[in-house]
């Protein structure tokens, strides 16, 4: 082993201990996240604060109450857009919504909703399909800061052009401007779109199931998890979905490498839309 390879091994040990410290100090469990990703993010924080090593970061984490929030913000990648990946929303309209329309009432969960753009996009879509009044929407994230932005639903004016273009590409029927009010340098999402939406903190790693969902959106969250943790979270989704419920992942995520792939049918391979197979409860039989 070269000296540098030995240094690398030691550094990996330091990072494992730092993640353990984060877990014990804050309850946030990043130990199963993708390690190349975690290392890059922690390295940013280390360099920005001129901390000499990850070991020193442990000390800082323990004794500086504000430092954990800086780590949390660095580990929560929250770039998002309204109608991000317009083709995905088209596919939802075409292959998911017709099934949802057969229910009198539906439950929708956005796991890892970031600042809410995905939630409001889906809200608009459900509105246009005449489904909003029949839907209860849960929107969750681990990052309290982004959840607060999601609740407010105020976005920079500059982003509206992109959002409008996405909305049109996604097959929107109306004028996108009907869904917000413009201020001086920002836009506010129409209050009506916040009805039936419950924003709350939920950690996919450590918190439990959300029961009987008809659709779960978890887009661009699983890429930050290691493969074992992905599997664990996919199991959580499986247990949270009703029979025939839909799971929508990000365009570059898939169930291909998951141990639970067989529990789902592929609805749209390109847009990563899956459907939970109907589980038949074995009928109770008498003693053999």
């Amino acid at each position: 082993m070269t000296d540098d390879a030995a240094i690398l091994e030691n550094q990996r040990l330091e990072i494992r201990l730092l993640l353990e410290a984060i877990y014990q100090k804050s309850g946030y469990d990043f130990r199963g996240y993708a390690s190349a990703h975690i290392k890059r993010r922690l390295e940013h924080v280390r360099a920005r604060n001129s901390i000499p090593s990850f070991c020193e970061m442990i000390r800082r984490l323990i004794y500086d109450a504000g430092f954990f929030d800086e780590i949390l913000q660095a580990l929560s990648i929250n770039v998002t857009e309204m109608f991000r990946d317009p083709e995905f929303y088209r596919a939802v309209r075409d292959s998911v919504v017709p099934h949802l329309k057969t229910y009198p009432f539906i439950k929708v969960w956005h796991a890892g909703c970031a600042a809410g753009q995905e939630v409001y996009s889906m809200g608009i879509l459900l509105n246009e399909e005449g489904m909003r009044e029949r839907a209860q929407i849960y929107a969750t994230d681990i990052n309290p800061q982004v959840l607060e932005s999601a609740r407010r639903g105020i976005y920079p004016l500059e982003s509206v052009r992109q959002y409008t273009a996405n909305y049109q590409k996604a097959g929107g029927h109306a004028s996108f401007a009907d869904y917000y009010t413009a201020g001086y340098d920002s836009v506010a999402i129409a209050a009506d779109l916040k009805k039936n939406v419950l924003f709350s903190p939920h950690n996919l790693v450590t918190d439990g199931i959300f029961g009987e969902m008809n659709v779960i959106f978890c887009r661009n969250v699983l890429i930050y998890f290691g493969d074992d943790l992905q599997d664990k979270v996919i199991k959580l989704f499986l247990d949270s979905l009703c029979n025939g419920g839909f799971l929508c992942l990000g365009t570059k995520e898939s169930l291909r490498f998951s141990a639970h792939a067989d529990a789902f049918d592929v609805v749209d391979a390109r847009e990563k839309i899956y459907r939970k197979r109907v589980v038949r409860v074995p009928s109770v039989q008498g003693e053999p």
Partner: protein, 189 residues
Amino acid sequence: MRGIAIGASAGGLEAVGRVLEALPADFPAVVIVVQHIAPHANDTLARRFQRHCQLPVREAEDKEPLLPGIVFIAPADFHLMVEPELRFSLSREERVNYSRPSIDVLMETAAEAFCSDLTGVILTGASVDGAAGLVAIKRLGGRTIVQSPETAEVDIMPRAAIAACAVDAVLELAEIGPFLARLGFEDPC
């Protein structure tokens, strides 16, 4: 398993194709390519490179295990990383050197996963991306190759790499594919 990480930017569509066409069908290393491309370009890159290449070429998927004899291409608008257990990870974190995917991000993570079993190759481009990546590869005992600036459609990226790193070889574009083809068959350390 040996790894080969190739980074290219402006002029790369042509140059990467030239390198890939020299690799034989029984090539035993895994090849990973970051070609800078517009964010909304879809999976056309893999199809395009496949035309020149005897090995299967495909877009890398999240958590996909790296396999020898396959050419993996970074998807547009995602960073591509190699995890220590030799699986890919994707990320939408901010651009690095104005780029996503970034060559540095691929090479730095691949260097840590492969150590001395990695070869990094920098081709044509108008960027400094890849220079820090080559330094990381070299530091962990891997090999570094740069296209000679004279044969590069845009010489900025090769020059930046050569300035940053004491590279092992500066080769003309036509030599790089055959060089990798031989190197792939050497025993991994």
